[in-house]
């Protein structure tokens, strides 16, 4: 029995989500769908529910950003680049960036409508995780 529990414990750890999408604790969301997050980060929509959101991306080519782009946005970097170039013609800018997980977390803590992603192990009671990937 102990072996079975240990096996499933390890399985959860191994297959567990590495990153969490976070929002301010003040927001009423319990969860949001990947489609809603995708639309907000692609600047197709600006709200989830009644809350206007400010998507925050991680600067550069970090693993977290690549994982977010492929898993949540459903696009690789090349496809995303071409998407934003087309949006530039349409007069739409990509989300603002922050240089680190810490600054994303701090931004989300301090700005009610901010939404970003950080490693799940950094999530504490100062922010609310609404999606994991």
């Amino acid at each position: 029995m102990k072996i079975i529990i240990l096996f499933f414990g390890l399985l959860i750890i191994v297959s567990g989500a590495n990153y969490s999408v976070i929002v301010s604790k003040k927001l009423s969301y319990l969860t949001v769908s990947s489609h809603e997050i995708r639309d907000v980060f692609l600047q197709k929509r600006h709200t989830i529910g009644d809350q206007k959101l400010i998507p925050i991306n991680l600067v550069g080519q970090d693993d977290a950003r690549s994982t977010f782009e492929s898993v949540v946005l459903g696009m690789d970097r090349n496809r995303l680049n071409s998407y934003w170039i087309k949006q530039h013609f349409a007069g739409v800018n990509p989300p603002v960036t922050q240089p680190s997980y810490e600054s994303i977390k701090s931004f989300v803590q301090n700005v009610d409508g901010a939404i970003g992603y950080i490693p799940s192990k950094m999530v504490d009671n100062s922010v609310k995780a609404v999606y994991e990937f």
Binding site: T47, M75, I85, H88, G91, N93
Partner: protein, 327 residues
């Protein structure tokens, strides 16, 4: 005008805060982003060859506040043209207002756009510039059957409580902001369009509308479009049926459409095939067009394209090559 534009760009480069990436514009601050594009084109048709430095455009856009944004774009078409067979040269360096509008965002379901804008119909008309297209030419569908621009108001957004359906309800009750620069000068233009996103890769939509030209031709149209686009393949098609009533009470119809497929061999290289149909009963102009093209993008905002068009009207067969860049 060119000096003013050059001065503006120099000032922007001196002031800009973020590093510049080709194709993404200069982001001075959220209120002021600038960009531009150009294209040059070589054409061989009926034993005549020509070279055109075609679209030269500058644009600026930004968010004034979370609810209010703007976009302005000025373009010179046919900037320089040389007939390589006769040696004749000409050009027009006058800049025209291509887009000039403001957006008032109230909610994802209600965004008001006021000014001169691209007519929100289908796919092709929303990305009409050479560098964003995958062929140098545009299908006749996109050039002859509805005004490419709208000077009026467009209420747009996602239809509430309906999954991923984006709509546009647009109206114009005046002349175009720049009548020298529109394919169909008109005084009235009304329409509704909607698009349903089925998955990340696929969508379909359609539109209905009516416009009255300066020559009092009243045209009502119905249009449909569908698209599938993944990492490797893109398939898209659009068609339109238009009923025209002329000032002399004559009436006729026009049917046109295209189906295009693209295979991305790599991120840089792609092969394109397109079939077009155009049938204008009023002028008895009927053409079936097959297009085979190749696209090379060393970087996405730099596009080199070649294509050959076979027309059922034999003297229309054309070879095109173009270079275009988005800044």
């Amino acid at each position: 005008m060119i000096r003013r534009v050059g001065g503006l760009i120099t000032l922007a480069i001196a002031l800009h805060a973020q590093p510049y990436t080709l194709g993404n514009g200069l982001h001075i601050d959220p209120m002021f982003n600038i960009g531009g594009y150009f294209s040059s084109e070589f054409q061989s048709k009926n034993s005549e060859e020509s070279l055109t430095f075609d679209d030269v455009a500058v644009m600026a856009y930004g968010d004034i506040n979370p609810m209010f944004s703007y976009l302005a774009e000025f373009e010179a078409v046919g900037f320089y043209h040389k007939n390589l067979s006769t040696g004749e040269e000409n050009g027009n360096q006058k800049f025209h207002a291509e887009r000039f509008y403001a957006d008032l965002w109230l909610a994802d379901a209600y965004n008001f756009r006021l000014g001169k804008m691209l007519t929100p119909i289908g796919y092709w008309n929303m990305e009409p510039i050479n560098v964003l297209r995958d062929t140098t030419s545009s299908p006749l569908y996109s050039m002859l059957l509805f005004p490419k621009f709208l000077t009026g108001v467009d209420l747009n957004g996602y239809i509430p409580n309906v999954d991923n359906v984006h709509y546009h309800l647009f109206a114009q009750n005046n002349h175009d902001l720049d009548e020298e620069y529109i394919n169909i000068p008109n005084t009235h233009f009304y329409g509704f369009s909607a698009e349903k996103e089925l998955t990340n890769e696929s969508s379909f939509g359609g539109s209905v509308g009516e416009y009255i030209t300066l020559t009092n031709q009243r045209t009502r149209f119905i249009q449909a479009n569908t698209k599938y686009d993944n990492e490797q393949w893109q398939m898209m098609g659009e068609m339109i049926f238009a009923q025209n009533n002329f000032a002399d009470n004559d009436h006729s119809s026009t049917l046109s459409g295209y189906a295009q497929g693209m295979y991305r061999y790599t991120q840089e290289h792609a092969f394109i095939g397109r079939y077009e149909y155009y049938n204008d009963h009023h002028t008895n102009y009927v053409d079936n067009i097959a297009v085979a093209g190749y696209s090379y993008r060393p970087w996405y905002p730099v596009s080199l394209k070649g294509e050959y068009q076979w027309h059922s009207l034999r003297d229309e067969n054309t070879f095109l090559f173009s270079l275009s860049v988005l800044f």
